[in-house]
């Protein structure tokens, strides 16, 4: 009689790590379930009759999904998988906010599990693998992906990339290159600017030649995808700029125009790129685990430090604009934001009025005016209308959060928080440690 081979150390507990990582991720993102649909979500789901029929699916695939870009301007997102996901989203969950957001949370948990398994398969110790997986799904940008339906295509792109990466380890040069190219194209078809995640399988290739070839293929696929599937008015230069800026803190871009997708994409690429380096650092498991943990801690610390520095840098930039700005409108805007960031709503008041007078259609001053109206006891309907207009002036939820953080610090008024929640569907945010708007 032949006995079965002995179990590998820890095999009996192999299955305990991924439920824990998935549950932690899901719990961390559970607040997204309370979110309401944003304007962009309503435009894509509720006010979009194409989601109702098969013929509508054809229209969505041909014309793209209705989307908002900059100050509430309507455009179309041509990414076909995003269109399919929107169509299926309505077909399965209609406009039910909790169910719609639950799908995002589930996808995020799936991403966590896939990354965990990917890292575990690279012979990493389980705690380090779990830490790495969580560092991705608990990245600050990750909340933007579960908080708005616009994040779903990006999650799909990341999921595809990591799932493919788990299978390239034993593939040959040609297969790896083809997989990287297809992954980049598929990711772009999910979200036009997310093709970079094609680098994830490329970096997992077994040989150096394969890594180089696959990386070139992935970059080519990402470029092709970005040109084909990005928003109509997005230039290649803007995509490249966003790819860099997304990894860096928000205030370095004026205004914060980039979306969360590239942030997460670059984060995943960076984390996976570090794996071979760390794997070479020593044969002993304890060293690798320690290095992995140190890497994550250092990564988060660096992020926090950059964010803190950026806050001060942004203050300095605004001060420069307020003192020596050539454009009176931007001077008023900078002065208003400076006062708000210093929690002086009264000082901001004249600049709000000035900005509203000089740029009445942009809606940029409406948030400040709404805050002033609340403190003066104005009816909540008027405040809500103002806040809705102001919220619509932002590109995405991350940018909205950045603006809202400035207001939340300056207006510690429960009535304002309530009006904000009613107008945008989100709780008024407060700064996390080390976070800049």
């Amino acid at each position: 009689m032949t006995l079965p081979p002995p179990l590998a150390p820890g095999a009996a507990h192999r299955w305990t790590s991924w439920p824990a990582v998935a549950a932690t991720t899901a719990l961390a993102h559970a607040l997204a379930l309370r979110g309401q649909l944003l304007d962009a979500d309503r435009l894509a789901l509720v006010r979009n009759p194409a989601t109702r029929t098969f013929a509508g699916l054809g229209v969505l695939l041909a014309d793209g999904t209705p989307a908002l870009r900059g100050a509430g301007i309507a455009t179309h997102d041509p990414a076909p998988i995003a269109a399919l996901s929107t169509w299926l989203g309505w077909q399965w969950f209609r406009a039910e906010p909790m169910a719609q957001h639950a799908l995002g949370v589930a996808l995020m948990a799936a991403v966590a599990v896939q990354i965990l398994r990917l890292v575990e398969e690279a012979s990493w110790p389980r705690p380090a693998a779990a830490l790495l997986a969580l560092s991705v799904t608990l990245h600050p940008a990750a909340w933007d992906l579960t908080g708005a339906l616009g994040g779903r295509p990006v999650l799909l792109a990341v999921l595809v990339a990591v799932a493919v990466a788990r299978r390239v380890r034993t593939a040959g040069l040609a297969a790896t290159t083809a997989l990287a190219l297809v992954t980049a194209l598929l990711a772009s078809a999910c979200a036009g600017s997310a093709g970079l995640v094609g680098l994830v399988p490329a970096l997992r290739s077994p040989t150096r030649r394969a890594r180089v070839a696959a990386s070139i293929a992935a970059l080519a696929g990402a470029s092709l995808g970005a040109l084909r599937f990005n928003l109509p008015d997005a230039s290649a230069a803007a995509i490249a700029r966003d790819a860099v800026l997304a990894w860096l803190p928000t205030p370095w871009s004026t205004p914060p125009m980039f979306g969360p997708s590239l942030g997460l994409a670059v984060h995943v690429v960076a984390v996976v790129a570090c794996m071979p380096l760390l794997a070479r650092s020593g044969p002993r498991t304890s060293i690798r685990a320690g290095l992995a943990a140190s890497f994550v801690v250092v990564l988060l610390a660096v992020l926090g430090a950059i964010r803190g520095a950026a806050w001060r840098t942004e203050d300095a930039r605004l001060e420069a604009l307020a003192s020596h700005g050539a454009d009176a409108t931007e001077t008023a805007a900078a002065s208003m934001r400076l006062a708000l960031r210093r929690h002086r709503l009264v000082d901001a008041a004249p600049w709000c009025a000035e900005l509203a007078r000089r740029s009445p259609d942009s809606g940029r001053a409406d948030g400040c005016l709404a805050a002033l109206a609340v403190t003066a006891g104005a009816p909540s309907t008027a405040v809500r209308a103002g806040l809705q207009r102001w919220a619509a002036s932002y590109d995405d939820r991350r940018a909205l959060r950045a603006g809202a953080l400035e207001l939340s610090g300056a207006v510690p008024d429960a009535r304002f928080a309530e009006a904000f929640r009613e107008a945008t569907g989100y709780a008024l945010p407060h700064r996390r440690p080390g976070e800049s708007p």
Binding site: W15, R52, T53, G56
Partner: protein
């Protein structure tokens, strides 16, 4: 003990969750979501067990079995929409009217006078105004006509009844009408009539004569199918073991075609299904004569189960096992033939000597009539996007329901006729595939199940007949992966049923169901026609 505890814990927790999810009521869409959730849970558990087994750390048996059985109990609760049944559904009066009245008065009504005589009875009981205001289906022409037409010559009905039988008929019609709204009653009178065979009329008529049409009597009748469904699970459990029984119960609970709103609390709509389950179980337990008899009775009740005998006869053909089961096959055929003969005689005795001839021509006419809940290969082959109900409605703005429905039915009928040649060609190809599958089936009971699964490819059926696909659970032990495939299939169908683009219009819904079930049958046939993979 541990297993029982796990079953109870899982079932109680799942049913509590289901009741909570359904406490605000269940409609078409939320019902499909609930069933999909249960199917996904069962699929997830099956995949988990497989993963653990492959990893060398299998889940301990009491837990594995307990959770699966608990999920099956939850699925059974899902069939009842976790108790969130609309008020008044303790009896499916629409169905019971057809089956109760149609079988009890078969000699007088035949297959063409049900609605006309009901209209006369209603008018005589003081409802003439209502009758003149509503429509009914003329079961000779299959067209919807004003019900007042029946009142022009009431003697065409009354002359066929004895005075006592006519009084009884009026009472029964009034009793069944009593619990229905005007709209629901009017809808009942434009359905497609009473269609079971004379043999079923013998059975149903006997039951209907014994059980009065009072509220209590009808409720008792409605409970029979629940008992039959429980019996099916018990019989499969006895023949195939707990796992097949749990799988069958899960599939029965989360299925779309035989869901509660179609079959629940009706009258003996599952008798043939129970007979098929008994036939498969008896064949598995090597009782071929009785198995053949059960199959024969199912065949004389509903016709299409007769296909099953081909499966028994051809299982293992061309292989050494064919000779091995020669005696068993012979006994099954004898049992089948005897039951068919008895059924025919009983049917003729109960419904009259010409009843079988009348039924044959009626069922041909009924099969040719177009209904949006038909399923089968013919529905798929005849599909024409221009004839979808949505398009027909859009092309006739402002037209009455009757007008566009007639236009749709005419178009669908001609599309069906046009597609005869490709349909026959496909059926020939499918027959070759089934022959290959039966050759490898080796066991007569596998052949029986496989042959039954071919029914929607051989003929178009009303959608709810697909409930018998639950018997595919028996194949779970014969080929690896069948259990997961069936659970995935059930979940997939319910996911489709959640989508308005698929399920809003009934013709689209049943087209999707046709594609899914024909695909499943073909997939299973391919799985059996090819050599099983060694694990």
């Amino acid at each position: 003990m541990k297993r029982a505890l796990v079953v109870v814990a899982v079932a109680v927790a799942g049913i509590a969750l289901g009741v909570f999810a359904a406490h605000r009521g269940v409609d078409e869409w939320s019902g499909a979501r609930l069933r999909a959730a249960v199917a996904f849970a069962a699929l997830g558990w099956a995949l988990w067990l497989r993963s653990r087994r492959r990893a060398g750390t299998p889940v301990e048996l009491p837990v594995a079995h307990g959770v699966a059985a608990g999920l099956a109990v939850i699925a059974a609760a899902a069939w009842f929409d976790f108790g969130a049944l609309p008020s008044g559904t303790a009896l499916h009066r629409h169905d019971v009217f057809h089956y109760y009245v149609g079988s009890k008065y078969h000699r007088e009504l035949g297959y063409t006078r049900l609605y006309a005589c009901a209209a006369v009875a209603e008018a005589q009981d003081g409802g003439e105004t209502a009758v003149r205001a509503r429509d009914m289906r003329d079961l000779v022409t299959d067209h919807v006509v004003p019900a007042a037409a029946a009142l022009d010559h009431p003697e065409e009905c009354t002359s066929r009844f004895s005075p006592a039988r006519w009084r009884s008929f009026r009472t029964d019609v009034a009793n069944l009408h009593a619990g229905m709204s005007g709209a629901a009653w009017a809808e009942t009178q434009t359905d497609h009539g009473y269609n079971p065979s004379p043999a079923w009329s013998a059975l149903g008529g006997t039951v209907a004569r014994v059980v009065p049409s009072t509220a209590a009597g009808l409720r008792a009748l409605a409970g029979l199918d629940v008992v039959l469904m429980a019996g099916v699970v018990a019989v499969l459990g006895a023949a195939f073991g707990w796992r097949v029984a749990a799988l069958a119960l899960t599939l029965a609970g989360v299925q779309e075609p035989g869901k509660f709103t179609w079959l629940g609390f009706s009258m003996l709509r599952l008798d043939w299904f129970a007979l098929l389950a008994v036939a498969v179980a008896l064949l598995r337990r090597r009782r071929p004569g009785l198995a053949g008899a059960a199959l024969g009775l199912a065949a004389v009740m509903r016709g299409f189960p007769a296909l099953g005998i081909a499966g028994i006869v051809l299982a293992g053909v061309g292989t050494p096992s064919f000779a091995r089961f020669a005696t068993l096959r012979r006994r099954a055929v004898v049992g089948f033939a005897a039951a068919v003969a008895v059924g025919c005689v009983l049917g003729a005795a109960a419904a009259g000597p010409g009843a079988w001839t009348e039924w044959t021509s009626h069922i041909r006419r009924h099969a040719a009539a177009q209904a949006s809940n038909k399923v089968g290969l013919g529905v798929i082959v005849a599909f024409d996007p221009a004839l979808r109900v949505e398009r027909v409605q859009a092309a006739m703005p402002g037209a009455s329901a009757e007008t566009w429905m007639q236009a749709w039915a005419d178009g669908a009928r001609s599309a069906h006729e046009r597609s005869t040649l490709p349909r026959r060609a496909l059926q020939l190809a499918v027959a070759a595939l089934w022959l290959a599958a039966l050759r490898r089936a080796r066991r007569p009971w596998i052949g029986l199940v496989l042959a039954l699964l071919a029914a929607p490819l051989a003929t178009d059926l009303s959608g709810y007949y697909l409930v018998y696909f639950v018997l595919a659970a028996c194949l779970a032990g014969a080929r690896g992966g069948v259990e997961r495939a069936l659970l995935g299939f059930a979940a997939g169908v319910e996911v489709l049923m959640v989508m308005p683009a698929v399920a809003w219009f009934y013709d689209d819904r049943f087209l999707a169901i046709s594609v899914a079930y024909v695909g499943l049958a073909v997939g299973l046939a391919i799985a059996f026609a090819t050599r099983p993979r060694r694990v």
